[in-house]
Amino acid sequence: MLKLHFKFIAYLIVAAFSLLPGSSLMAGTLEDVRARDKLICGVSEGLTGFSEQTEGQGWSGFDVDYCRAVAAAVLGDADKVSYVPLSATARFEALKDKKIDILARNTSWTLKRDVAMKFTFVGTSYYDGQGFMTRRSYGISSALQLSRASICVLEGTTSELNAARYFESRSLSVQFLKFKERGAMVKAYNVEKCDALSADRSGLASDRVGLSQPDEHVLLPEVISKEPLGPVVRQEDLQWSDLTRWVLFLLINAEEWKWTQDAALEGRIPDSLSLSEDVTAALGLRSDWPINVIGAVGHYGEIFERNIGRDSPLELTRGVNALWSGGGILFAPPMR
């Protein structure tokens, strides 16, 4: 009875808000961003390679470059972004409450978030999955060699459950050491309180950079869960979700066309990109948006290598995040 009551009140509140001027049904995020001449992007509080703030140089990273790409598309200037660092628990509220225009913070696309929480996932910018990190000195090349290991995990995450299920189904006995906070978990691993760490692989690569001797640790090849990470927007603003989605697709397509940042800066435009005026207008953008985006951040492959790939301390390999034409699963619809 009580529950019903709350639900009803919540419904009334939502209904009342939706009638107010400037509410979600009325205003477009695009107009807001234009009026403000600034994009507000929600990012993680600091995850090496994905979003980090360095003194004097501002924000950088894989997720940050996506924010810059959107700003370049909408405002013609990749620097017109303000970044809002958000914790895992605060991120969805901030988006819902319109404190940010877009959330670009290693967030997994799930049914619940997409449907029940009323967000829209723009697409997958990084196909992640849970993995393991362990010490090189163990001479281990597979998680299947971790029998008897003690493994550090974050408490209450799906990581713990996934890992437990993984080892159980392979009749390997391991033990888990649980932590409430990521920093504490990594520290414990660093001082040999446990033999291995388990979390999303991109995060592990990021954690490794912070260990006393990163080279002495290896990411094992196994991926035991699906974690498709991507930008998130509010569900009701279709124009904004279309726009942000096609910015992501442009980054991926540009790699397929081998359209590099240098080429864009020299003013070269690939043959495969032929957008008529009415198409760009329907997106709410100027016709030069693709060249602005690629000129500012480069294509997907360049963003990857610069922030988290070979040219970065994380040294992640492309793996499944290679283009579909290169053996990966990254696929963007054609831009015509």
Binding site: T134, R135, R136, S137, Y138, G139, I140, S141, S142, L144, Q145, L146, S147, R148, A149, S150, R170, L172, N190, V191, E192, K193, D195, S212, Q213, E216, P221, E222
Partner: protein, 547 residues
């Protein structure tokens, strides 16, 4: 003061607080050395009291380590012994054994020995155990095969071979270095040792640059002139010792000497030795030296799964090579062509013993074949099947096929056993060699003799068909008084089923080796008909192959 727990040892070894550690050593122990007794005591103490704080590789082998060291009062095998550098050396050269140096942390092993002070008995004990842990891992890899593929793809393994860690330690203790250990401990199987030599040869060839691909083109017959001939000569000269320096390298004529070399190549690669250079021959010529090396490595891995005592008198069937060998006291007395299961009816790999022969056998059609293959034929024309000697069995009674109305029979209500009576058309031919097993696989004769003339012979439903079954029968019955060839022929002429038990069961080993040695010790290659090499290679890399 000696730290009781060594949780942080490898943290220190890998740099965690290296400088602090060195200062500590310098400050505390300079000038004093742990006595041998202190070290022994420390080793036993570590194994008895330490659990989670020992490095993972040590914990993973704890029982075996405990068993050995406690029995030997903690006597070290590595510390202050030249075996220590020898182990690192052996692990670095693991590829000589067809293993992978990358699976062992040689860098850390080296650092570990240098980082711990002589005075630090407890630290040295951990280093000793760490060395032993990787020694055991190497010894196991060498003796019974690597562990990872077993976890990745358990279906690759039909029979488990146990690893005796105690034996490894005992042999090591009697040797001064790893070279002696490897010689004594590696699989003592002639074929394995031979493959190891072949592996070294092919590595040599690879180092020298391997060979160039031969262009695909028209079929080349003896006497033809063809632009590809110099390239084919070059290619063959790399692996054919008999061909070298006997011929002008740029002649374009396919002369007799080269035809002979092509025939030799074809014989060693499971091709028709017709001397004609066609598509298949060029394909085989162009398989790279790298791929040949990989083939040798997976084949060596498979030999490690085999029992080392194959038997003084045994039969070896190489499924991939379509060949049976009977070996007595290390000498091959018989080589015979066989036909094996089709890729969808793969013959399994296992070892067993032939216990009896059955002359004029019935062929009891396995239910799967009866339902899938016989039933449609029975519906179409039961008389034709009856004429080939088939009959139905209901309960204990044989029923003529023509007495049954097959119209309403389906896979789900199929309650008959179908068998074929002895006779010239019987699918098992005149004799079968039985080693009853869960796979329902045996060796047998066949009425389809012509198939043995083909180079590729994967035809059967899983059983092994013999080219000259009566020869093998005669050889196996030799020791039974009165069993001459004449007597066998007499039994066959009578035409009735007859079982003859062997006085002494003969071990039979079904193997899958895409590279094996001929009598002259040359490598013979065949194709990966069942895709098992590819699958094992994936599993060795920790991946499950999807098929």
């Amino acid at each position: 003061m000696i730290p009781a727990k060594f949780t942080g040892l490898f943290y220190r070894l890998t740099g965690g607080a290296l400088s602090v550690f060195f200062m500590l050593i310098a400050f505390t122990y300079e000038g004093k050395g742990a006595t041998p007794d202190q070290l022994k005591q420390a080793i036993v103490t570590q194994l008895e009291t330490e659990t989670m704080s020992l490095p993972l590789p040590v914990r993973q082998q704890q029982e075996a380590l405990k068993a050995y060291y406690i029995e030997n009062d903690g006597a070290p095998l590595w510390i202050r012994h030249k075996r220590m550098t020898s182990l690192v050396e052996a692990l670095r050269n693991a590829e000589l054994e067809g293993l992978s140096p990358g699976s062992y942390p040689t860098q850390t092993l080296m650092k570990a020995s240098g980082l711990v002070s002589h005075a630090d008995a407890s630290g040295q004990a951990v280093v000793e155990l760490y060395y032993s842990a990787f020694f055991l891992r190497f010894a196991r890899d060498l003796k019974v095969g690597r562990l990872l593929p077993r976890k990745v793809d358990p279906k690759l393994y039909w029979q488990e071979k146990a690893f005796d860690a105690g034996a490894a330690f005992r042999i090591l203790a009697g040797e001064q270095d790893m070279g002696g250990f490897i010689r004594r401990f590696q699989p003592q199987i002639k074929e394995y040792i031979g493959l190891k030599r072949i592996l070294a040869n092919y590595r040599q060839i690879e180092k020298a640059g391997g060979w160039q691909a031969v262009p695909h083109g028209d079929v080349i017959n003896a006497g033809d002139e063809n632009a590809s001939i110099p390239a084919i000569y070059q290619r063959l000269a790399v692996t054919d010792g008999e061909l070298k320096d006997k011929r002008g390298a740029d002649s374009r004529i396919y002369d007799e000497m080269l035809v002979e070399a092509v025939r030799r190549f074809q014989k060693l690669h499971g091709l028709e030795p017709d001397g004609v250079i066609g598509k298949q021959t060029v394909f085989a010529l162009n398989i790279s030296v790298r791929d040949r090396i990989r083939q040798i490595i997976v084949t060596m891995e498979r030999w490690r799964w085999k029992p080392e005592q194959l038997g003084a008198h045994h039969i070896l069937v190489n499924l991939a090579g379509y060949e049976l060998r009977r070996v007595r006291n290390g000498k091959t007395e018989e080589v015979m062509r066989v036909a094996v299961g089709k890729p969808y009816h793969q013959s399994p790999v296992f070892s067993d013993k032939i216990k009896y022969l059955e002359f004029n056998p019935y062929w009891n059609v396995p239910r799967s074949i009866a339902v899938k293959e016989e039933l449609p034929k029975l519906k179409a024309n039961p008389g034709a099947r009856a004429a080939r000697g088939f009959e139905a069995v209901v309960g204990d009674n044989a029923v003529p096929l023509t007495a049954i109305d097959w119209g309403g029979v389906t896979a789900s209500n199929f309650k008959f056993r179908i068998r074929q009576r002895p006779g010239p058309k019987n699918a098992l031919g005149r004799v079968k060699f039985m080693f009853p097993n869960k796979f329902n696989v045996y060796l047998h004769d066949t009425p389809a003799r012509s198939l043995f003339n083909r180079a590729q012979r994967a035809f059967s439903h899983g059983c092994i068909r013999l080219a000259r079954p009566l020869d093998l029968a005669e050889q196996l019955l030799e020791s039974l008084p009165g069993w001459s060839r004449e007597k066998i022929v007499g039994v066959l002429n009578v035409g009735e089923r007859k079982i003859v038990n062997l006085a002494k069961p003969v071990p039979v080993h079904l193997t899958y080796s895409t590279v094996w040695l001929d009598e002259a010790g040359r490598a013979r290659f065949s194709s990966d008909i069942y895709g098992r090499d590819a699958r094992l290679e994936q599993a060795l890399a920790g991946r499950l192959a999807s098929f």
